[in-house]
């Protein structure tokens, strides 16, 4: 039991910094996991620290809403790599992100297409316009309340954004 836990921890601890640098697209970004009490690793837990690009080391509480989201996504993708499930479902993870960070996260997901399927729920065009396909949900009024209806759009049939500029 302890063995697999330490394996998992060591694996993710190796991976977190590169994942955070990759998502932030900034070599100055740093992230690391450490065991609070190395003698008794399971006693005091695991701490996580991120240094946002261009900033100094400070407690995680100091991070802004958007910075916390990026730190969380880096940890999620690093942890996932230990036993990679074939697909991901992310429900409005872009809520606190500005357009620059939305672009970075969307590009990271696009870059992982080879080995990972991503299903995201989003209200922001800056995010969902980067997907391969859209699933549009709309509500039809029924007797017992709304009934969800579904439409699918394959975006790969249209040219990329750049060539749609007039």
């Amino acid at each position: 039991r302890r063995g697999t836990l330490m394996d998992c921890f060591n694996f993710v601890a190796e991976k977190i910094d590169e994942t955070y640098k990759f998502i932030s697209r900034n070599p100055g970004a740093q992230a690391y996991l450490s065991v609070e009490n190395p003698d008794e690793p399971f006693l005091d837990g695991i701490s996580y620290n991120c240094v946002a690009p261009g900033k100094r080391f400070r407690p995680m509480d100091n991070l802004s809403g958007g910075e916390k989201t990026i730190a969380a996504l880096a940890l999620i993708f690093a942890v996932h790599a230990y036993r990679p499930s074939p697909f991901f479902v992310l429900d409005e993870v872009d809520a606190a992100l500005d357009n620059t960070n939305i672009g970075k996260v969307a590009d990271y997901i696009k870059g992982r297409r080879e080995d990972l399927q991503c299903i995201v729920i989003s209200l922001k065009e800056e995010f969902y316009s980067k997907a391969d396909a859209l699933i549009g949900i709309y509500a039809k009024q029924g007797r017992t309340g709304i009934q969800s209806q579904v439409m699918t759009f394959d975006l790969t049939q249209y040219e990329d954004d750049a060539s749609q500029e007039i």
Binding site: L73, F87, I135
Partner: protein, 162 residues
């Protein structure tokens, strides 16, 4: 492997039989507030064996369309997921996982054969789908707290994943 289609029947705000898909490598679910986007995610969690508390209900019978207003349209609801994966020879094979609610209990099927919850779960694990560890589902409003857990909570998270 990857998820290709989802079939939903009388689950939450989805009334009747609805086929959703095909899902691509990067698929976005869009639509107005309250239209049923998170319910679609709940359908995916449900078919993978998630417990009802993570689907915003206290009992599985509340997942049936109309149940929260006391007018369930049926006494069953069903979600099935078609997952495609490459076999040894590189051909694409598909396997259908299905979970059905009957009254307040749920039943599991793989390619239409009824199986036990344990067999269902271990078959999913061959695809690296571990519903307990939830390392691949991020529910609405929960992303920031993943970075802000305290050290002991984070240890528990690692225990579930390993």
């Amino acid at each position: 492997g990857f998820l290709e289609y989802l079939e939903i029947e009388d689950f939450k705000s989805y009334k009747g039989k609805i086929k959703v898909g095909p899902f691509h490598k990067f698929t976005a679910i869009i639509g107005p507030n309250g239209s049923g986007k998170s319910n679609l995610m709940d359908a995916i969690s449900f078919v993978l064996g998630e417990k009802s508390s993570n689907m915003r209900v206290s009992r599985v019978s509340q997942l049936i369309h109309g149940a929260p207003v006391g007018e369930p349209v049926a006494n069953t609801a069903r979600v099935s997921a078609l997952i495609k994966m490459e076999n040894e020879e590189g051909h694409l094979e598909s396997i259908e996982f299905m979970r059905v609610i009957k009254d307040n209990s749920t039943h599991f099927y793989i390619d239409d054969c009824s199986v036990s919850a344990a067999d269902y779960r271990s078959k999913l694990e061959t695809f690296n789908i571990f519903i307990n560890s939830k390392n691949f589902l991020v529910y609405q409003g929960k992303v920031e707290e993943i970075a802000m857990k305290n050290p002991k909570e984070r240890m528990t998270m690692f225990e579930e994943i390993s």
